[in-house]
Symmetry: none
Subunit: 541 residues, 2 copies
Amino acid sequence: MTTDPSPQLWLYDTTLRDGTQREGLSLSIEDKIRIARRLDQMGVPFIEGGWPGANPKDVEFFWQLREYPLQTAEVVAFCSTRRPHSTAKTESLLEPILNAGTRWVTVFGKSWDLHVTAGLKTTLAENLAMIRDTIEYLCYQGRQVIYDAEHWFDGYKHNPDYALQTLETAIASGAQWLVLCDTNGGTLPQEISQIVTSVISHFSLLTSQQPIPLGIHTHNDSGTAVANALAAVMAGARMVQGTINGYGERCGNANLCELIPNLQLKLGYSCIPQHQLNQLTEVSRFVSEVVNLAPDDHAPFVGSSAFAHKGGIHVSAVERNPVTYEHIRPEQVGNRRRIVISEQSGLSNVLAKARTFGIELDKDQPAARQILQRLKELESQGYQFEAAEASFALLMYEALGNRQQFFEVKGFQVHCDLVEGKETNNALATVKIAVNGENILEAAEGNGPVAALDTALRKALVNFYPQIATFELTDYKVRILNGHTGTAAKTRVLVESGTGYERWTTIGVSPNILAASYQAVVEGLEYGLLLHQVKVRVKDF
Amino acid sequence: MTTDPSPQLWLYDTTLRDGTQREGLSLSIEDKIRIARRLDQMGVPFIEGGWPGANPKDVEFFWQLREYPLQTAEVVAFCSTRRPHSTAKTESLLEPILNAGTRWVTVFGKSWDLHVTAGLKTTLAENLAMIRDTIEYLCYQGRQVIYDAEHWFDGYKHNPDYALQTLETAIASGAQWLVLCDTNGGTLPQEISQIVTSVISHFSLLTSQQPIPLGIHTHNDSGTAVANALAAVMAGARMVQGTINGYGERCGNANLCELIPNLQLKLGYSCIPQHQLNQLTEVSRFVSEVVNLAPDDHAPFVGSSAFAHKGGIHVSAVERNPVTYEHIRPEQVGNRRRIVISEQSGLSNVLAKARTFGIELDKDQPAARQILQRLKELESQGYQFEAAEASFALLMYEALGNRQQFFEVKGFQVHCDLVEGKETNNALATVKIAVNGENILEAAEGNGPVAALDTALRKALVNFYPQIATFELTDYKVRILNGHTGTAAKTRVLVESGTGYERWTTIGVSPNILAASYQAVVEGLEYGLLLHQVKVRVKDF
């Protein structure tokens, strides 16, 4: 269709508006500004900031951005067409839009006759007038307008003539882009492809303007939001709307972290500067951090499992010839290959794993075999290091003789007393540790024994290692091994700790759930101290 | 392409094999059997059980299923082609496959020349011989063979002639199905579509056999696994492989919970009996509970947010005319609209659930509404009854006024004392209960607090209810809710109890892991007593 070797697409991010429709996601003004700046740095050309007027936060967001504008991205204000039987000039909804002071405004309007008559309770003609009047007024005020055609695919399927009329009206009124929205997310790729093709041929017959500036906005209710956007682009759409990590109402919006590499690496379109594509993984994790949602480890391209490999033969094969097992090079999107340490691990896994921690091991080195043997021993006891890389690192340091002992664990006691009705602080933990030969005894209460143990341990250590105050316990998982023997079975606990962006996971195994938890919490603190220490050292050099 | 109003597709579930490749997912034999039975009930025709021989667990799984076979599903054993330069007849890998005693066997083989020469380090001709010999031998042994063509799309792109030869060999050797696998997950829908079309036309020229029995197996590394499978089906594939909730290595496999409704409700294919489609949401949550992974609230079709609606006007609009805001009716997949809790849909769930326990409830009965209300209350506190049906039954009996009180829980104390080196009986539990007005105080030691609690409780009860000695605690699972807040989060415990072949599961929720465990253990004993009691009564009549 195009002869250009790398045709340009325009990305349009709506994480800050449609993304915040996700249940449980809410952003402060500062959060929104941090995300906008990060997307700007990566080279996203359009960033929808919100609907000024719909809430005071969005008004303030646009004001703050005017003082410290973005480098290259256009920040876009979002609003609806004017209300029925008013005029755009006197419509109070449009005042805060103009006050936001953006060059670009996105206006959404109705495409589906049923939404006009049953939802807006007005006539089909008045809806066209609303589109026309709103866009013309915004253009007259010097704005460039993107027209989001809400429910477009459903509208087209029910009444194609009317749906096309809304687009004709928008473009005739001065809109620069027509964005076809699959608002309910029910359309499948093949249908998207056919309909986008029909729209393009309709406009090329109607006007001499070619290509028509079409965009696509999809939702994931059918699990095909990304494929739908790809189908639209391959049929001729040139603007792609989506959100980072696919956040959005119900099942989310099209995920830009999947769309960008598919479009750029596989289909040969140009979305963001090629040398900035390797920021993608970091941007994905940064945004999940700011919105305070656990990142999806299994996310395509950017998840920590996206390039994880198991099994000995497989691992040596992937290192020899990555193309046989990886659809793209992980570094292209800023991710990395991860060798998963599991039961089937051989020496080559261990060496590969050591390298990811910056440890160069030779397969003939005695430490390498010691690590492997210790690994097998622990695995037969129920340890599993696939998800507990920090514990595996500690094991390696120990075998190499350079595991630093920040503190020594002497024991703990836990007492729980539950009488019906008493719900809080029902657990008391006492821990005994030694630091530099000095014995410390510390106690704490908590809602449950693990919280009490964690608190007591931090109290005991924070005077020696103040950085512990910045470590957070971010996740805690329990799995019972050999479930068949019930509560007498072994318990495997995974604890995730972190500071800001850094995350590390440690493991504990014991028939006693509290002992397993304690072990994982202790190693989490130890690895955190090690990580911190290494950083300081690097600075010293 | 087809004139049949509802062309048949064959679903092939690989949750138990490829699904378990997901990092951090591991299943006991009992877990696998529970999942297989649930999929069988929903009407999935092929269930891949595992690779017998690759690990002892899978051998045992097939043996157990032979004793209590599935109703309608075929359970399938999975294996590779024989090794280079051996013979199928003497290949030790194939022995456990035949011993598994399944009617169907899936054999995977290499399609990509590079994997043959660099991976297997053998010749292209020998790889064809391996495919031929293995399939012929299995057919000779009376098995029906599904041939999984590993790395097929990458292989075809690099060397189409050789890739096609592997398929020709498989079909000529007696394979009933040829399944094209996008093992690395890098292919996009349009390419899948083109390649499947080419394969079909290649075979229709080559043989008179039409249509060729093609299957599709996709991975989600590009975020398009579902769209890829749909594209293959629309191009003529008739078997669809995937996993429940899309579990699988790296970014997962094609998600059957998205594929089934797309294929059945939107594209008009027949996958499972139409009246069983409404089991889908429950199956999704059941499997996530069994594998002990938090369900994805934002999952298409089956997620709790998939049909969630915000905002007043929108809500009345969606209630007036659901088609304007919902791509399918949520009840079609057993999910429900979430607004202000739609009592009607919730109530029908409760009634249906009650029926599974032999309780006939009328929707106008006050108890029905009481149950629903209590359910909502508990769900908002983190309870989830999909996999804890025994606790749900107790809740129903309570609302109906016929929950028998075998004993009364007064409280418990637990003391754990761990000093380094002392490993066993480090926990002491004291429980206080009342039976028929008599207070009982009993204490026990155990390896860990939960075992100690369980033992103390049984000691206290066994004199009153000797049948308790026959109850076993068969599984114990822990999930942390709101994991993001670490050890201070709420704990959800599932306890599975049983006598011989009977099994029942109960739930406990609390910020204190021991309190949650205790609650689930207590309800497990109570439900066991109830079950036993009912049986005795039945015998008396």
